[in-house]
Symmetry: D2
Subunit: 376 residues, 4 copies
C-alpha cells in the first residue's frame, strides 16, 4: 500500500500523483502477479475515523481482496505520522502518548487479524532523538520492552495466531533511532519475556544507509531462527531513505541476498514473505508505478536463476569445496580437557598456510560474470 500508493511527496516537494483508493490498488497488484498486500492501519482507515466509517471501509476492502484472490499476510500500525508521536510512541516521555500508542496498536492488531494477517510488523518511526539529553537511553529501551511484552500478552490473551516482526532503522526521520540495526534489534528481542513470538523484519535500505552488510544481517537473523519477514528495496550508502526498486542499486549484494534467501548455497531456504517495500521515483505517473512494481519482481526472479546457475557451476563448486582436515576440525569444536591438550600439540605449517592463495579474486569474478549473464 505504502509502496504502490505513494504519491511522491518529499520534504522539498508536493505530491505528483493522485492518491489511489485502496480497493483500486488491490486490483492492480493482483494483475501484476502479487499474491498479497501489506498495510498500515491508516493506509486503509484514516486517522480519527468513526467506528461505522471504519467498518464500511474494511468491508469494501475485504470484498476487493476476495474478488482478486489476494491476502493480507502482514499488517502494521502507523506510529509516526501524527504530531502526537513527534517524540516517539512507545518510548515517549509522556505516559499518555505511550498509552495512546498501545491503544492504537491493539486496534490495528484487531484490524490486521480481521484481514487475515499472520505477521505484525513494528517500525518505530519516531523512537529516537535529536536532542539526546531529553531522556536516558536506557529508559527508552526499558519502555520499548514493556510495550512489546504488553502487546505480546494481548495477542496471547486474544488467542490470535500472530507473530511480531521488528524493523530497525538507523535514522530518518529522527536524528538517531533506538535499535538502529537488525543486530541491535535481535539483541533487544533476546531480552523479551515473550522472545519466541518475536522476530525481525530487516529492510535492505535501512541496513544499507549505515553501510553495513545486509546479507550478513539477514544471515544472523536466519541462523537464530528470527527472520519472520523481509523488506526488499534498494538504497545507496549514507543517504536519505531512498526506497528504490529492488535490484536497482548494488546488484551484487542483491544477488547474494537472493542466493541466501533461496537457499542455493546450501543451508535453509527462507520460507516467509518477500515484501517489496519501496516507492517509484517522483518522476513517474501511475503507469511508471506499475513498471516499478513489475521490475522489482522481475529482477528478483532473474537473480534467483543466476544464483542457481552460480551454485551449480563446477568451477565455483571446485573453488568452494571444503578443504581441510576433519580430525582437526573435531578438536577445535566442543571443548574437553583432552581435546584442548591434543589441539595445543598440533604444529601447523604457519608459513605455508599464510602464503597459500585462496582464489577469491577468481571466485568473485566468476560471480560477477554469472550476474552479468556471460556464463549462463
Amino acid at each position: 500500500m505504502w509502496t504502490v500508493g505513494n504519491p511522491g511527496r518529499d520534504p522539498f516537494g508536493a505530491e505528483v500523483r493522485p492518491i489511489a483508493k485502496p480497493t483500486h490498488l488491490v486490483k492492480k497488484l493482483a494483475e501484476c502477479g502479487a499474491w498479497g498486500v501489506n498495510l498500515h492501519d491508516n493506509d486503509l482507515v484514516p486517522f480519527g475515523a468513526s467506528a461505522s466509517e471504519r467498518d464500511r471501509i474494511v468491508a469494501d476492502f475485504k470484498a476487493a481482496l476476495e474478488d482478486c484472490g489476494m491476502v493480507v499476510p502482514m499488517a502494521t500500525t502507523n506510529l509516526f505520522s501524527h504530531p502526537i508521536f513527534k517524540d516517539g510512541a512507545f518510548t515517549a516521555n509522556d505516559p499518555e502518548v505511550r498509552a495512546f500508542a498501545l491503544q492504537k496498536t491493539m486496534d490495528a492488531i484487531d484490524l490486521g487479524v480481521e484481514l487475515g494477517a499472520k505477521i505484525y510488523v513494528f517500525w518505530g518511526g519516531r523512537e529516537g532523538t535529536e536532542a539526546d539529553a531529553c531522556r536516558d537511553p536506557r529508559s527508552a529501551i526499558a519502555r520499548m520492552r514493556d510495550s512489546i511484552d504488553y502487546l505480546c500478552e494481548y495477542v496471547k490473551d486474544q488467542r490470535y495466531d500472530l507473530v511480531f516482526a521488528l524493523e530497525a532503522k538507523p535514522n530518518e526521520p529522527r536524528g538517531d533511532m533506538y535499535f538502529p540495526t537488525t543486530g541491535h534489534m535481535l539483541h533487544f528481542i533476546s531480552t523479551l519475556a515473550n522472545e519466541t513470538m518475536v522476530g525481525v523484519n530487516p529492510e535492505v535500505a535501512h541496513e544499507n544507509m549505515s553501510g553495513l552488510s545486509f546479507v550478513h544481517a539477514v544471515a544472523q537473523a536466519m541462523e537464530a531462527g528470527k527472520l519472520f519477514h523481509i523488506d526488499l528495496n534498494a538504497q545507496k550508502i549514507g543517504r536519505y531513505d531512498q526506497d528504490l526498486r529492488f535490484g536497482s542499486e548494488d546488484v551484487k549484494q542483491a544477488f547474494l541476498l537472493v542466493r541466501l534467501l533461496e537457499g542455493t548455497l546450501g543451508g535453509e531456504r527462507y520460507e516467509g514473505p518477500r515484501h517489496f517495500d519501496s516507492h517509484a521515483y517522483r518522476t513517474e505517473d501511475e503507469e511508471g508505478v506499475w513498471e516499478f512494481a513489475r521490475g522489482s519482481m522481475r529482477t528478483y526472479k532473474i537473480l534467483a536463476a543466476r544464483a542457481r546457475a552460480f551454485d551449480a557451476d563446477p568451477e565455483v563448486r571446485g573453488l568452494l569445496a571444503a578443504k581441510g582436515n576433519g580430525a582437526v576440525a573435531e578438536l577445535a569444536r566442543g571443548y574437553t580437557r583432552d581435546k584442548a591438550a591434543r589441539l595445543r600439540k598440533l604444529q601447523p605449517d604457519v608459513a605455508a598456510l599464510g602464503s597459500r592463495g585462496l582464489g577469491y579474486e577468481k571466485l568473485d569474478q566468476l560471480m560477477m560474470e554469472h550476474i552479468l549473464g556471460v556464463r549462463t
Copy 2:
C-alpha cells in the same frame, strides 16, 4: 601498548617513530597518571618467540610493572597481523587455521592471567569478507560461537578469574566484518552457552565509522549488564579507522558518553576500566605521543565535570522533570486483561498532545553552553 607504542605506519607510509620497548612504555604511562596498561600478546612477546625468550620477556615486564605500581587489567590476542589469519581466525574456512587461533588464544589467556588480567578482549580483525561468496555467513557465525564457547570452557576448566569482552567493527581491514556493531555482538552473546561470562568492549571509533550513535549502543550494553570494558577514542563518520585522541571529534557525543558512564544523569555508573585506545597523529614524535595521552585523560575529566554541572543545573532539571500521569503509566505497563480494557477507554487529547512544544531546542542549547563552558 598499541596506543602509545604505535610507530605511525599506515597503508601509504613508513614508520615515523622508533618502536619503544614495552618496559619503557610502562614507565612513561605511569608518569602520565595511568593505573594500568593493556596489551596484545605480540605487543610483548614477538610472534614465534621460543619458550625461554617468552619467559625472560615476561619476567622483565612484570618487574617493570611492579616498579611502577601498574597493573594489566586487560589482555588480548593478535589474531589479525600474521598472513595465516588473512581470511579470518575463528571463522576461517580451514580448520587448521581455526585450531591455530585457539592455540594462540589459550597461550595468550595464560599470559594475560599470569600478568593479572581480569578481562580478556576479542577483536576479530580478520573475521569477515570481501568476496562474500567464499562462505555461508551462517557458518561463520556458528564457527565463532563454537570458538568462544570453547574458550569459555577452557577458562572455567582452568578456574581462571576472567571474563571475555567482544569488540565489534564494521569494516577495515576486511570489506565487511561479521558482527559489525555492538548490537550484533550483543545478540551473538545471547546465543552462547556461556553467555554470563561474556560481555562487550565497544569502541567509539568502530561505532562511529557506521554513523551509529555510540551512546545508544553503550546504553543498550549497560542496560543488559554487558558493558565489561570500553575503548575511548574519536573518529569521523564514514572514514578509515582514525583512532583519534578522545574528545577531539564530536565533543557533544563525547560529553553524552561521559555523562552516561559517570552516571550523572541518574542510573548506574559504569565501574569498569576506561581504556584510551587510539594513536597519535603521524606528525608527532615521542613527546607528541605523550601530549596525546595526557590530552585524552584531561578531556575526559573536563567533560565529567561539565556533565555534573549540567545535570545539577536547575534550568536543565526543570526541562527534564518527569511530567505525566502516573496512573496512566501504570496502565501501560504489565499487561492484564483488565488494565488493557481500561487503557482502551482512555481518551487523550490527541490534538493538544501533538501541538505542545517539548523544549528540546532549549535543552540542547543549554547542553552546548555547558560544554562550551559558558554556564559553569
Copy 3:
C-alpha cells in the same frame, strides 16, 4: 523564512506547527536581533498568485520590513516544490520546463530587487537524477551554463545591482545532484561567460552530508574571491538533510569555520551575510522555534570570542610561528631556470626533517580546551 517559518513536515509526518504569516515572522526576527530576512519567491507569494494579489502581498511585506527596520539581503526562487520541476528546472529534458524556470526566476529576481536584495541565490533542488541514463550529464552541465549566463545577461540588461550565489548539494531530494559540492560549483562558475558576477553560497549541512571538510571548501571559495553568501547550520555526516541549529553538531568544525570567517587566524575576514538556514526540531512549538533562532546566533558569538582568544594565546602563537628558511621558500616559488638549478642543489637533512615532531596533538588539544572554555 524557510528557517523560522518551517512547520515541521517531513517524509514520514504531517505539520506540527501552524504556518505563520510572513509579516509576523519579520517582526519576531527583528525581536531576536536579526538585521535581515531572506526568502524564496513562494515563501511570500504563493505559486500561481495573480498579479494584483502579488502586489498586495508585497506591499504589506515591505511595510512590515520598514516598521521593523529589517532588510532583505538575499532572495531566491523555489524551483523544486512544484511537480513541473520533478526532473529538474534548468537541466530538465523538456525545453518548456527550462523556459518556465527562466520565466519564474526572472519574476523572482524582479521581486528580490524590489525588496532590496543584493544577492540572488540559486539552489537547484531538482537538478539531478536517480535513473542516470535519462540524459547525458554533459548536456545537463551545458544547460545549466546556458541558463545562468542567460540570467546574468538579464540582470545586466536591467542594470540591477545584483550578484548570484550558487549553492551545491550532493543529494536529496534527488539521488545524485549535479555540481554536488562547492568545489564542483566553483569549477562550473569558472566556465561561465559572466564569471565575475557569480560566486557560491556554501551550506554547512550540504558539504557535511558527504563528509567533506566544510572549512576547506569555504577557504577555497574565499581564496578565489567567490564567497558571496553562506548558510550556517549543522548536520551529521552521511544522513538525510538535517538542517540543525548552528553549532549543535561538530563544534570543532564550527569553531574553525567561525575563526576563518572572522579572520582571527590572519587573512581576510568574510564581510558578507551570515545566514542561518536551518529549522527547529519537529518536537518544538513556536516558542521552541525562537529558542532555536536565538541559540544559533548565541553559539556563533561564543565561538567568535573563543577564536579570538585562541589566536591570541601565546602558547598557540608559539606553535604556529612560521619556522623555516626564507631563502629556500624564495627558491621554491616563481620558477626561473636559475632558481630551479639552485633548488636542485640543496641537500636537506631528510632524516632529521622526517623524525622531527610537529606538536599538532598539543595544538589540537589547546584548541579543544579553548572551545571547552577552560583557557579563557
Copy 4:
C-alpha cells in the same frame, strides 16, 4: 606497478606476497594483454639510490619494456611514503620540505620522460590535515598553486612533451585532504597560470568514498576538456580506500562510466588511457593477482558491449528520444532582450507538465536488464 606489485600489507597486517621485481611485472603484464605500465618513481628506483644505481635500474627496465613491446604512458612521484612528507609535500609548512618535494618531482619528471611518459600524475597523498589549526587552508591552496605552476614552467623550459593530471582524494591517509574531489581539483586548475597543460585524473574509489557520483564528476571533466587520465577500480561508499577490482562493486555505476567513456550514448569518446589502479585482495597469492588483473579488463569489455547494446536498443531509444519544442529551446538559450520578452509571454500548461510521467523506472529497469544480460 603499485597495482600488480602490491604485497598486501595493510594497517593491521604484514605482507602476504613477496615483492616482485619491476622487470618481472612488466613481462607478466604484457602476457595479460596490457599495452602499458605506469609507475611511481620509487616503484622503480628506491628512495635514496645513488645516481649509478638509478641508471643501472633504469637501463634494465627499459630493456624489459622493449622486449615486451610495452610503453610507460604515465609516471608519477611518491610524495607520501617517506616521513619527511608526513605533513604534506607542496603544502608543508616548512619550505625545506616543499623544496625537497620540487627536487624529487623534477627528478621523477626527468625519469618519466626518459621512459616515454606523456602524462604526469600528481596525487598529493599527504596534502591535508588532522589538526586543522596548523595552517590557514588558504595558504595550502596558494602553496599548491605555486608548486604546480613552478613545475609547469619547468616542463615548458625543458620542452618536454608532457601534461599534468591531478588526482583528488577526500581523506586517508590524512583526516581531510585539500581538493577532496574532482570538482575541487577542476576549480583549482582553473586558477593556474598554466591551466591548459593541466587536467585531472579521477579515480573511481576516491570519488565513491564520499558517496558522490563518479560518472557526473568524469562528465564534468570531459565537458571541460580536462579528462587527461582515469583510474579504474571499485569501492564501497564511506569506507577506507579499498582499491577493489574494477566492476566488482556498483556495477550500475561501472556500466554508466564505461558508456560515457566509450561514447555510446553520443557525445565524445574518451581517447586517453584507461588505467586499472587497484590491488588484489590480501587473501591472494601471485596467481590471484593475475586473475584480478585479467578480471578488471574482462569486466570492462563486457560492460562496453552491454553499453553498445543498450544504446542501440529501440525501446531505449524511444524512451530517450528528444521531446520538446525546438522554438522554445531557442528562446531559452542565448539571452537577448527580445528573446526574454517573448519567453516571458509563454504560457506552458504547468499542470500537464507536472502530472506527466517520464518513464524513468522503465528506462532504469531496461538498463538493469541489459547489465544482467537478459536483453542481449
